[in-house]
Amino acid sequence: MIGFILSPFVVAILAAWFVSRFPRRAALLAAWPALLTVLLGSEMARAVSGAGRLIELPWARSLGLSLSFNLDGLGLLFAILITSVGALVVLYASRYIEDHPHASRFYASLFAFMGAMLGVVLSDNILTLFVFWELTGFTSYLLIGFEHERAAARAAALQALIVTGAGGLALLAADVLLVDVSGTTSISAMAAQRASIVVSPFYNAIVGLVLLAAFTKSAQVPFHFWLPNAMEAPTPVSAYLHSATMVKAGVYLIARMTPVIGSTTVWTTAVMVAGATTMVVGAYRSVQETDLKRILAYSTLSALGVLTMLLGVGTPEAIIAALVYLVAHAGYKGALFLVAGTIDHETGTRDISGLAGLRRAMPRTAQAGGAAALSMAGVPLTLGFVGKDAAYEGLLHATDWYPWLLVLMVLASVLLGLSGLIAGVLPFRGDPARVKEVHDPAWPLWLPPLLLAAGGLFVGVAPSILNGPLSTAATAIAGMPVDVSLRVWHGLTPTLLLSLLTLAVVGLSYVFHEAVRARTWKPRHGTEDLYEGALSGLNAVSHAIAPALHSASLRTYVMVIVATAVLVGGAALVTDTGLGSAMPRTSIAPHDVLIVFLIVGGAIAAALAQSTMSAVLSLGAVGYGVATVFLSFGAPDLAMTQFSVETLTVLIYVLVFRHFRGLGPLSSRLVRARDGLIAVVTGIFIGGLLVSVATTETPRRLQDYFAELGPTLGHGRNIVNVILVDFRAFDTLGEITVLATAALGVRGLLRFAATRRQDHYVRLVTSPIFRTAARLLMPLLLVFSVFLLLRGHNQPGGGFVGGLVAAAAFALYAIAFGVHRARQALLVRPLTLLGAGLLIALLSGVPAVLSGQPFLTALWAPGSLPLGTPAMFDVGVFLVVAGVVLMMIFSLAEES
């Protein structure tokens, strides 16, 4: 089942491929969510019979992260809405965005969104719920901004992302507090600890943060402004995200958290007030708009407000009402959105002032729109009627100031009914003769809205089929058994009279709808201004700060970094008395002085050099000096590597620096003096640091560990090499990958250069003596490099230095005979060497995985021969290093 829940993510990838391959067959993709609906339906049947279940797949156990899904009535109810509406929307979109150049991207985002939504409503782990929650925000960003060529679409997408993303952060904070207080990440386990959570000092913070997340996602006032703006999305997206699914995630969160942190005064008041306000504001604004989608967006706001308010009231009747209202709304509002999209698609406009008389031209669409509008207005025998009836009932039977809520709800219902009629009926009314060249579109554009609307009528006649699912869902919210028994006829109750009164006023106001729209006051400012203000304020602050921090001058950065290091580190050096307590152990030999003199002299000469070549030669002297230090203090591996690297580096320097001119000073004497001062202070700090560290006793645990285990576990006597290819092989793998990336970067930089000439290759040296020597030396060097590689595990050597020597062999050949001949001698391209090397290094880690051990664990063949995965790994290192160096040298030498 977990596989099915996560399957939309896989389908997202497949859909992108499928749609680009068969652009006219996208409708087939609707089969998958339809199948999921059937599966979820059977799970629902199981849940109704009292066998809801938790399924779990461990993920990151140490972090308490597991993919655990709670298949109870509440989650399944939402999940079924997501997949069933999803199937219809995919079907609809198959025609709506057919032939769009980015259609495959659309389906990929849509299915990824579907997967994220399923994750939100089925997750039992509160942390994975957060992850899925953020994924819905991210995928909806992609979907709202689908037509990214338009600035309005991009702005709306960004606004939705920022507002709901801020809520997501609040949810994360709430999760952290909840996990801290309850000690568990499972929501169902938290519900059992409700008593201790409610009395914890963090309770109010948790409620505030959870509700912030829910209110931003479900567009409650004052965060509601993003939803009407999000109508920039393609209509199938609006129908799916902004009426049936994503905006209900906030409502879901409130419902899901009710048994954990709900039903307190704080919670009830906040949820109820926000919901009631949104209900009224949304309904009021919906009748003022003339754009079909914006009418529907505001009426959706209002419906979300109704749901929130009813959950805030929290009595069993109110919870039942919320659930019925939820299902009814998903049906009629989804249908109306799709109808609006069809009208837009066929006539090219969504403005109701320019639409009339479509009923004869588009009969199917008109039927869908009419049926949905009737349900939204609450005409008896529709599900909308049952929902509104239940809501009135819930508010009527509650105590205290809930009668006021009832008054507001009746008012909002009138306005909502009116806006439903404006959106679903008005475009089809009027003189049909005015409509020309418009006709019903292909079936995928009228069947889905018709099915949604007809579903509302069908269930409205026999609402009792919802009893089972809604009972289990209501039980999950209320935390106690709730029995739902929906009926068409309750008898002549006060709620029925209220419903009929509402309907009568709706009918009356529809007649005068133009007067209503013209006479109502339209606010010029809203909370969106606050949002814009905050955003531009933030931008202004960063504009003020950024230029100072981000000067784009490398020297400033170097100075800041160096100064910080010297000041902070220097303070530690001066104040920490534990450093430098032991005496230096090593005496000075006469030749050491010579080496240090070479290094110091080379460094100073490089700093003061007036030409590039003398600077390079001084740098080379420094490199050889350091290599000699390595040699004198027991590090032959380092010395060999450094000698080879230094030789090759000088070669590369010469190849590049022939293009640079002299190094005469550019800055003034004063600036140079300042830089010199900075440099000298840094040097003194580094020297002092080194003296104090080298004279501080440190524990020798690590080196003894490696010394002991190298020969036994590592099957090698050269401990440095054993560390590189065995103990820390993963590290080395990362390093050769970095090297390979650098080489590819060099190749790319040179390839894009226009100056490269294929037919012209450089011969740097033409002396016959040198050529003869090179011809003899090359094979010798190659043999030596393989020798270094093979003995590396037990004697100084190894893949790194072996690869460098092998590269040096071909570099020498290239100098003597030109790059072209050297490439021929190499037989394969350097890129092939590099790729093969990386592959071999990677593959050497696989046997361990196959035998159930961590990646790159060393495995050795039995017997005396040193055959094992680290040897293979070292071969990979050898090839990568050789490939990298040759790729760099060849492409540099070929570049004029």
Partner: protein, 114 residues
């Protein structure tokens, strides 16, 4: 000896930083090279100097014979040397591209609108 090598890496750092504060691309990279040499020397020396044997177990012995050089900083420095090579080569070519594209080797001129 530690003091002597401290002097060496101090001078390497000083020269390296001085060159990195210059305006010429070529000097910036030479400075980077000096700095990486200085760092390698710093890590190597900080790991403890000994003139004794390299960390290679003699034939027939079970473990390293005391005293021996510490293999851990050596392994770190070895990869640092090779990575330093990759870094130098890449930044050299990058500088070369900047030089040919911008037509100047003065860093302050590169970013300037022409």
């Amino acid at each position: 000896m530690e003091a002597l090598l401290a002097l060496a890496s101090g001078v390497l750092y000083a020269a390296g930083i001085y060159l990195m504060l210059r305006r010429r691309l070529a000097q910036l990279i030479i400075g980077l090279g000096l700095l990486s040499n200085g760092t390698n020397l710093l890590i190597f020396t900080a790991g403890g100097l000994t003139r004794a044997r390299p960390p290679v177990v003699p034939e027939g012995a079970a473990t390293l014979v005391q005293p021996y050089a510490d293999p851990v900083p050596q392994a770190l420095v070895l990869t640092a040397i090779v990575i330093g090579f990759g870094l130098t080569a890449f930044s050299l070519v990058l500088a070369h591209r900047v030089h040919t594209t911008a037509g100047t080797d003065d860093i302050d001129d590169v970013g300037r609108e022409r």
